[in-house]
């Protein structure tokens, strides 16, 4: 296995082009470390991204929050711009695993590893995040909605492409993140719900994103329909949550939880998230 530490995105893209599917990108490494065990012989090149400074940037650009792919969960949880402008993402980040994991795991790794219950991805889906992807040094960045990437799963990023960062339009101040796990630290959510809506008197562009309700993280569009354009009431929050449980969720039974329990969690956590975001403070 050859090892590289490129200094620029373009250098990394050249390496990806050269080694194709034989290349592995190293960000935080908490997933990769595990995946490489016993499989290291099959990997031609390990490309460590840590020297590429622009990948770690978190910044406000006009009405957009930009989060570089190498930003760690700890950085996202504590960054003033994230906490102020996209609090749902900070809430999801702080809920992730234990401190040992948050200080290392990156948002890019979370998005690219295809984890069906990634906390950060649930929050990103609820605030309509856009993924900035580079495929070659000559092409401009491709901007892909996070939903498209999540729907396709891991294969959404073709070999040779690099997730550079995520863009989130500001204005999702009414938001909340709720999850249920069997153990607080380093355990996948049984169900996690992120709720966001645009600022304003009515529930404008409500977004309900759920993990654990389907094989991938999904938008609960039936629940959103119940809320869209209406005023917030506790009853409406409950109706939307019931719609999420009855019509949006298609959970499966696995060793962590039964489908029926997950469906009930979808209802409970969706209601809690909407009320936490929009109810009396």
């Amino acid at each position: 296995m050859q090892y590289f530490e490129p200094n620029f995105v373009d250098e990394a893209l050249v390496l990806l082009d050269r080694f194709g599917s034989q290349a592995r990108l190293l960000a935080g490494g908490t997933r990769l470390a595990f995946a490489l065990r016993g499989d290291a012989d099959k990997v031609g090149a390990l490309v460590n991204l840590k020297r590429i400074k622009e990948l770690s940037t978190v910044s406000l650009r006009e009405q957009t929050l930009y989060v570089g792919a190498l930003a760690t969960a700890a950085t996202i949880a504590s960054h003033p711009a994230v906490r102020r402008h996209v609090p749902v993402l900070a809430q999801a980040a702080i809920s992730m695993g234990a401190r040992q994991l948050r200080s290392v795991a990156t948002i890019g790794g979370n998005v690219c590893s295809g984890d069906p219950a990634s906390d950060l991805c649930v929050a990103l889906l609820a605030c309509d995040a856009q993924c900035e992807i580079r495929r070659s040094s000559s092409d401009p960045a491709l901007v892909v909605p996070i939903e498209e990437l999540l729907r396709k799963g891991q294969s959404a990023l073709e070999p040779g492409s690099l997730l550079v960062g995520l863009r989130i339009q500001l204005g999702w101040d009414r938001c909340a993140y709720q999850k249920m796990t069997t153990r607080r630290a380093f355990e996948m959510s049984l169900v996690a719900v992120a709720f966001c809506c645009r600022n304003g008197p009515s529930l404008d562009q409500p977004r309900v994103a759920i993990a654990g309700a389907a094989p991938t993280i999904v938008r609960a569009r039936e629940a959103e329909k119940v809320l869209a354009g209406k005023a917030f009431t506790l009853g409406r929050a409950r109706d939307a949550a019931r719609a999420a449980g009855a019509r949006d969720a298609a959970p499966q039974t696995d060793w962590r939880a039964s489908a029926e329990f997950r469906r009930q969690l979808v209802v409970t956590l969706t209601e809690r998230a909407i009320v936490a975001a929009c109810g009396e403070r």
């Binding site: 296995m1 050859q2 090892y3 530490e5 190293l26 490494g29 908490t30 990769l32 470390a33 595990f34 490489l36 290291a40 990997v43 390990l46 460590n48 840590k50 700890a74 695993g97 234990a98 401190r99 040992q100 994991l101 200080s103 290392v104 607080r184 630290a185 380093f186």
Partner: protein, 173 residues
């Protein structure tokens, strides 16, 4: 093979490593620092917790190449220059904060990181700070008591130290 140069418990160490080698294997196999334990190897148990630039990480999932030019602290680095145990280590002994002891190095490192960030933690803060560390013997109560007790000792030591440092300026004739 890749050369890494890092500071471990205050000493500069160098090694040639395979790119996929974990920091845990580097510490235990190459640098003979076997205080750090390998538990689950999957990042669930926290037995392998060490500090990298002051932040706790699971060294089983941390690439050795990522520790290049970093400052790593392991349980072996907790004693002071005179070889006296860290107040946390003493408190674990006094409070009986260990049974089989396998989780202890990781617990200690998570607790060190906590006290750096929060010198006056309450029980809940301690439980959150060690949420990523499993004690297979389930002796959590004594561990939590030990960390709270050690925090008081560290605060007292810090106060005495800063009083000593201030003395020449404030000493009266």
């Amino acid at each position: 093979m890749q050369r890494v140069r890092l500071q471990v418990n205050g000493s500069v160490r160098e090694a040639m490593v395979e790119p996929q080698l974990s920091l845990l294997r580097l510490l235990r196999d190459e640098l003979q620092l076997t205080g750090t334990k390998e538990g689950c190897s999957e990042g669930y148990c926290g037995a392998c917790t060490v500090l990298v630039d002051g932040e706790p990480v699971n060294s089983c999932l941390f690439f050795a190449v990522d520790a290049d030019h970093k400052n790593v602290t392991t349980v072996e680095g907790l004693e002071d220059a005179q070889g006296r145990p860290h107040p946390l280590q003493s408190a674990f002994v006094q409070e009986g904060g260990l049974q089989c002891g396998f989780c202890t190095p990781g617990m200690l490192m998570s607790a060190v990181a906590l006290l750096e960030a929060n010198p006056s933690p309450d029980e809940n803060d301690v439980r959150l700070a060690i949420a990523g560390n499993i004690c297979r013997c389930t002796g959590y109560q004594a561990i939590v008591s030990a960390v709270v007790a050690a925090a008081a000792v560290v605060r007292k030591q810090d106060a005495q130290r800063s009083a000593r440092e201030r003395k020449p300026m404030h000493s009266r004739p």
